[in-house]
């Protein structure tokens, strides 16, 4: 009886792409729950929208590109893109923003480059950046923190706003909206207020911004869990957070009235933690060697600071990641590890 022939190795560890992506989804859940706690159900509705859009785009494009549907639809990578994008949108953003951003991410940033594994940019970030550039006012409209305004948007109300643009009970959308802490800080600084004056506003807390510091910390915990599960290595997140912290400390020490504290940079919004642990670590678009990852992460940290402090946007995470995505192949080229015995 002939035996089956195949080539070594005959062992394989259990981890698969689908499994890794599933771990990322799990790690996002606590942070998302925290969002719901502070801002109501909008984010969940948006994540449902982005997920459905992502899966249908993925399926359509695989079909168009004549690729097998099953392995790619079940690899969970489209869902990761969807969830990341959904978590970055304002909870009351109109429904088409979600759909448009996700479709753009999947079609242009992923499949036109060849699908999973071939995209030079993180699709979620491309989708987000496109929305930010094209629809700035929709993207900046964040609701008040429920605990501050005393108004907690229900599922029905959230749906009404997202799908019709009309809040219930005669309130106007503008009345529900406010600027994010990062945004407030930036505009006020531009009006030559000092950091101490600006921080009188109740949206700020002692070291970050109310609510946001909890959201950021929860995403941070999710990220630590990913490191523990070996889905990502520590290099990129530590480099991003560390370099941002250091450079912010430097300027804060020089002039604490002009430059907000390093903790405000880390916890004034949720974006740094999501960016450092979930987006910059996207293996496909990041640098790969350990030294390369450190350089890549440090680059992101510094760019975030530069864009936030001297650039035109209150938050710089998305553009920083995109810029460093461009640099990743170059970093990889110059950080080839020394081969054993050479």
């Amino acid at each position: 009886m002939p035996f089956k022939l195949s080539t070594a190795p005959y062992l394989h560890q259990a981890n698969s792409v689908a499994e890794m992506m599933r771990q990322v989804l799990y790690a996002l859940i606590p942070g998302i729950a925290m969002y719901v706690w502070f801002f109501g159900w909008g984010i969940v509705i948006h994540i449902l929208l982005t997920s459905m859009t992502a899966l249908s785009c993925e399926a359509t494009l695989l079909w168009l590109r004549d690729r097998p549907l099953r392995p790619f639809l079940t690899d969970n990578s489209a869902l990761v893109t969807a969830w990341l994008l959904g978590s970055a949108l304002p909870p009351f953003a109109p429904w088409w923003l979600s759909v448009l951003g996700t479709a753009f991410a999947l079609i242009f940033a992923k499949h036109l480059y060849g699908g999973l594994g071939y995209n030079p940019f993180n699709p979620a970030i491309v989708g987000y950046a496109m929305l930010l550039i094209s629809f700035p006012s929709e993207m900046m409209k964040w609701p008040h923190l429920a605990s501050l305004s005393g108004h907690y948007p229900s599922i029905v109300e959230s749906m009404s706003i997202i799908f019709t643009g009309q809040p219930l009970g005669g309130i106007t959308l503008d009345a529900l909206s406010s600027a994010t802490p990062l945004n407030t800080m930036k505009t006020q600084l531009n009006k030559f207020h000092t950091v101490t004056e600006i921080k009188q506003n109740p949206i700020f807390s002692y070291y970050g911004a109310k609510g946001w510091e909890w959201i950021g910390s929860t995403f941070f915990l999710g990220g630590v869990w990913l490191i523990y599960k070996r889905v990502i290595t520590w290099h990129i997140p530590v480099a991003v957070v560390g370099s941002l912290f250091l450079i912010a400390s430097l300027f804060f020490t020089i002039d604490s009235d002009r430059y907000p504290s390093p903790f405000f940079h880390l916890f004034g919004g949720g974006s740094v933690m999501i960016g450092a642990f979930f987006i910059a670590t996207d293996p496909v678009s990041a640098a790969t060697s350990n030294t390369g990852k450190l350089i890549y992460g440090i680059g992101i940290g510094i760019l975030i600071y530069i864009i936030r402090t001297w650039g035109g946007y209150p938050d710089g995470v998305a553009f920083s990641v995109l810029l460093m995505n461009i640099a990743a192949p170059l970093i990889d080229y110059y950080t080839q590890p020394r081969v054993f015995g050479h």
């Binding site: 089956k4 070594a8 792409v17 392995p71 081969v339 015995g341």
Partner: protein, 513 residues
């Protein structure tokens, strides 16, 4: 030598060693036929010195390595592993990844298992290293860890100051060295001492044992009595790789193009060491080895001392063949290879046979695109970038793959083991290496052919010119007034740029092309 180093990468594997590690080494049954390939090692095949119909005794040389000087050659003699009659010298399929056949001597055993007269060496220290090396070579000893490098070639004394005995059996399932260390620690220590003597009394001798074999470690420690150092090394695949082990023990990194000997070191396998002990102290050539027979297709996984040439089928039956064996691996699950059937002989490099039933075979998972997660680079013990090698191989850009140090890859399989996209990375590297080698051979052949062709053209032209000159000279002699015509002819010849008769010319010609 107490400090240990750690090489980068590597993986922790489930050993699955308890399947076979707890029973003493048993003897395999004597088969009816022994099939002995003439080549069971790296190098040149031995040449038969028996004919069909000859009666042979156990331990008798049946194939020799051209004349009596094999201690210099990349070859060793082959011995009959039991007494009987030579019934055939013919091609037979052998266990090799290529699945090809090779010339084998087939012996029908007579059941008496009768030895030739052995001549043990009572006190080896009175013999010269040279004589002992010859003894090792004539005993047919090659590296028994799986590589099969003729051992005597690793016993040239010049500049060796460290002898390492490799007891880091790091592949899952394999336990033959573990058992040997537990059951024959004295033989191994003595074998190491013999090695030292041959090497001119090396300063250091270390037996390295992985820390998942505590019984082997303490047995050796007891046997060593301070004469050799026994070191516990961490269990991490692939610590058993020669260069990886040297790094763990000494911190030295031996590159692709270098040999341990360049660093004053030599590494021998546990079972090789015991074989040397037997060859010297008992005067017995290498005619058997211990094979781990394991896997879930086997009723009673165990280690058997098997006569070389025994058909695998016989020993699988002896260990209890389950009816549902679907795959048979020779060697370990990380670097071994599958065998097409079990009508193949056990050879000197057969350290392990893993028979798997249906459930055990991983159904080949669908591969996904590389997501550049870098998991492969994290575990590569050679510090390569497996994902880049994969990428360039896939794009058939072999030149770049080579620049990314493709040839440093030791094919350990760590990268493929962790790849979440289930890419058969090692297959790609083997393919790329083969392609590059084939291309280089092609190029060499083409160069040779072109040189030959150029020289031939040159020679023909030269001959023609000479002939013409001779004719014209003859004509000129008979008709002196035709001098002018001759000169014109010579001019024409020159204009054709025919090189003159000097010997340097062809070389210049070549360099022009």
């Amino acid at each position: 030598m107490t400090r240990l180093w750690q090489f980068r990468g590597g993986i922790k594997l489930d050993g699955n060693k308890s399947l076979s590690s707890e029973q003493p080494i048993a003897k395999a049954n004597l088969p009816q036929f022994l099939i002995l390939p003439l080549l069971q090692h790296i190098g040149v095949p031995a040449e038969p010195v028996v004919k069909v119909g000859d009666k042979v005794l156990k331990g008798q040389i049946i194939a020799h390595c051209q004349a009596n000087d094999c201690y210099l050659k990349m070859s060793v003699p082959l011995h009959a592993s039991s007494s009987g009659t030579v019934v055939a010298i013919e091609p037979h399929s052998v266990p090799h990844p290529s699945g090809l056949t090779a010339l084998c001597i087939v012996i029908e055993t007579d059941g008496r298992d009768e030895w030739i007269e052995c001549s043990p060496i009572i006190d080896y220290t009175t013999l010269s290293p040279m004589t002992l090396r010859q003894q090792v070579a004539m005993a047919g000893i090659v590296g028994l860890g799986g590589a099969g490098f003729p051992s005597h070639l690793k016993l040239k004394s010049a500049g060796i100051d460290t002898l390492i005995i490799n007891g880091a059996e790091c592949e899952p399932y394999i336990t033959c060295d573990d058992r040997l260390m537990r059951e024959y620690p004295d033989d191994i220590v003595m074998g190491a001492q013999i090695f030292r003597h041959i090497l001119g009394g090396t300063q250091h001798c270390v037996i390295a044992v992985e820390d998942n074999k505590p019984a082997a470690y303490s047995a050796l420690l007891q046997a060593a009595q301070g004469r050799v150092t026994v070191v516990k090394v961490p269990t991490l695949y692939p610590t058993g790789g020669e260069k990886q082990l040297i790094h763990v023990l000494t911190g030295k990194e031996i590159g692709k193009a270098q040999l341990p000997a360049d660093f004053g070191m030599v590494v021998h396998n546990i079972e090789t060491t015991r074989a040397v002990y037997r060859a010297v102290k008992e005067g017995r050539p290498l005619i058997s080895r211990v094979v781990t027979v394991t896997g879930n297709g086997i009723e009673q996984p165990q280690n058997l001392e098997v006569l070389l040439g025994t058909p695998i089928q016989v020993i699988i039956d002896q260990c209890g063949r389950k009816s549902d064996i679907k795959q048979l691996i020779m060697g370990g699950p990380m670097m071994g290879f599958t065998l097409p059937h079990d009508q193949l002989p056990v050879i000197k490099t057969t350290n392990c046979l893993i028979a798997s039933s249906t459930q055990a075979i991983e159904s080949p998972k669908p591969t996904m695109p590389c997501i550049r997660c870098g998991a492969c680079a994290q575990v590569c013990p050679v510090n390569l970038l497996p994902q880049q090698l994969y990428w360039y191989t896939k794009a058939k850009d072999f030149k770049t793959a080579k620049n990314y140090h493709l040839f440093d890859c030791i094919e350990c399989g760590c990268c493929a083991y962790v790849c979440p996209s289930y890419l058969p990375l090692v297959d790609y590297y083997r393919y790329a290496k083969a392609e590059i080698r084939a291309n280089e051979q092609e190029r060499q052949k083409a160069n040779l052919a072109r040189n030959r062709h150029e020289f031939r053209t040159f020679r023909l032209d030269r001959d023609k010119a000479e002939k013409l000159a001779r004719h014209q000279a003859a004509a000129a002699a008979s008709q002196p007034d035709k001098q002018v015509i001759i000169e014109a002819a010579l001019e024409r010849v020159k204009a054709k740029k025919v090189p003159n008769h000097s010997e340097e010319k062809p070389i210049q010609e070549e360099s022009v092309h």
